[in-house]
Symmetry: C2
Subunit: 356 residues, 2 copies
DNA sequence: ATGAAAGCGCTAACAG
DNA sequence: CTGTTAGCGCTTTCAT
């Protein structure tokens, strides 16, 4: 009888759910006891526990995380801001973060900033007002402006994929060294006129991935005493079409590249197609190397040589760090630099000296 | 003086934020007035509004969405469950949802079910306990089990990418017709031994995309009086490597296909590479058609013919429907079927009759 | 081991 | 137009 009444009562409510009072009443205990049962407190008699569980089941009760968060001032939620989830690189990072968060019972609010700084800031505000316990921020730049916004917000923060000189933990690869390695490899294969397809350089003012990588490229070229052709350094947008256009321009220019280094696999794939469309062959006429080592790199033809980033790990490590910080645990290292790897595949070929 | 005290007080608090009381005190008004200001109530004097805003700014106050949600029993958040964000198809759907949600000031909790039904159910529970206002569920199947779970949970729900006979709104394309169209096109080009690479068929028991599409394929084959070879119907996993393996098996078998219809562009790309690796040419020896029309389809070589799905719109329409349902507005149509489009590109060629 | 009660930050009658 | 007050559902002392 009582149960029926309770259920009927609840029916009128929009969010049609039993709450802790209902359970307490039905189980003939106090709300405190119900709370204890659902928080696995040891100080509950077996008898009380059972009747609470029974009542909860009967009413279809589940604790409201909302109310709990408010009471505990802890949401068990982290915010994640990425520039563009439709980029497979980020999907993979997200997977790493997700897996770790699942282990530690954290939820994620994923924010797709759409490569817009305004949106990033908007999302930071939103996450703050939702009391997320911390934020993982993945962007290819980290400006003073963003730094100050975060500083004002006072939320635990970990940077993924981007280093900074500010005192903020991050997990990255050594982009400069990675680009250096890739370029050096191309040079070792006899390539001399090497083109680059990079992303936004942000006027070289702030540190962005593409700037690091471009420096790495220049390091290697300089070391080898090779000429760097301005016409072979093209800006693009990390998309396949962008890579295609950039490569096309190069191939139609005065200085023909014998190799192209694209700062993402997707752009590299575009470049390979531009080479085909120009009536040339990859790698016979132009070698191509990418960056990221997406799954796709392995199955394209020619298979794409590339610099492998540990995308999943970047996410996973960032998440581990953030959760430790939230829990006020010591983190052994605030600046984590993960290893990159050069992956050689068919899109690069050794160039004979005489052919040049 | 007063301000300083307040701020100091707050410092001790873990979530170091000013709350509505602080603002009310500093502005010399009641909390109700502060609340009114932040909810744009017209019944506030200009004077009060100003001093509230000033105080809020001084204290860096932002309303807690958490507390607001609890008080209003509305979170302005929707849950989104997808099988695998690393699949570009889903990224694009997510973008559509996001854009609409941004307009209507909804937030999204994105759940990546990792193609696991257990995880899906887990996420449904989580979303429920977070009081999301509604859920968009994108999966390639919708089983009785899942239906009943949702029914018990009583949360507004919209299905994306999957039709159902249950009384649940959905937005989809006509998968059967789409596959029929693609197959018919291949047949019209003179192909006879057509292979198929599909996804999980779930024992043909529940309706999943691949089953619909397979039926569409069979419809067209039957209509044309063509023989369907079991050896040319291969199951795969919607990934490039899977498509590669499936195509390889076909090409090494007794019955050589003259065309392959892959149920996703990614698998189609894998198939094209398998064709190359078998020493054959696409489209000269084997034509390939995909499904989805990802950005990538346009930039691969040969460019990939495919069945275009309006991915972004599937997301956007689903989000619009859900928000209307949440707001108790009439929705004109509960079952939305969006248009697919056949996109012809170089990976399909006309086969001469004599060559077969 | 258990209950009463205060409080988390906000909204929404209600009364003025 | 504004303030008072009673919740929203949960956790957490503090008694018992």
């Amino acid at each position: 009888m009582r149960v029926a009444t309770l259920i009927l009562l609840r029916r009128e409510c929009i969010v049609c759910m039993a709450n802790i009072d209902d359970v307490a009443k039905l189980a003939n205990v106090s709300t405190a006891t119900v709370s204890r049962v659902f928080n696995n407190s040891p100080y509950v008699s077996e008898k009380a526990r059972e009747s609470v569980l029974k009542a909860a089941k009967e009413l279809g009760y589940e604790p409201s995380i909302l109310a709990r968060s408010l009471a505990m001032k802890k949401t068990n939620t982290i915010g994640l801001i990425v520039p563009d989830i439709s980029n497979p690189y980020y999907s993979e990072v997200v997977r790493g973060i997700e897996d770790v968060c699942n282990i530690y019972k954290y939820n994620i609010i994923l924010c797709n900033a759409d490569n817009s700084r305004d949106k990033e800031i908007q999302y930071i505000d939103m996450l703050k007002s939702r009391w997320v316990d911390g934020i993982i921020f993945h962007s290819d730049y980290f400006s003073d402006e963003i730094y100050h916004i975060f500083k004002d917000r006072k939320i635990p923060l970990v940077l993924a994929g981007r280093a900074t000189s500010y005192d903020i933990p991050y997990v990255v690869i050594d982009n400069r060294k990675a680009a250096y390695d890739a370029t050096k490899y191309l040079i070792s294969q006899g390539h001399k006129k090497i083109g680059v397809i990079h992303g936004d350089l942000n006027g070289m003012k702030e540190t962005v991935d593409s700037v690091d990588r471009l420096y790495g490229f220049l390091d290697a070229m300089k070391e080898a005493g090779l000429k760097v052709y301005d016409e072979l350094i093209k800006e693009s947008n990390f998309k396949a079409k962008g890579g295609y256009m950039a490569a096309k321009e190069m191939l139609m220019g005065n200085v023909k590249p014998d190799a192209i280094f694209a700062f993402s696999d997707i752009m590299a794939m575009g470049a390979i197609n531009a080479i085909f469309d120009a009536g040339l062959k990859c790698p016979e006429d132009v070698s191509v190397i990418g960056f990221d080592n997406l799954d796709l790199a392995e199955v394209t033809r020619p298979a794409l040589a590339t610099v492998a980033q540990p995308m999943y790990d970047i996410g996973a490590v960032a998440a581990r760090m953030l959760i430790k910080i939230i829990d006020n645990k010591k983190i052994s290292e605030k600046k984590v630099i993960l290893k990159h790897r050069l992956i050689i595949r068919q899109s690069c070929i050794k160039r004979d000296a005489q052919k040049i």
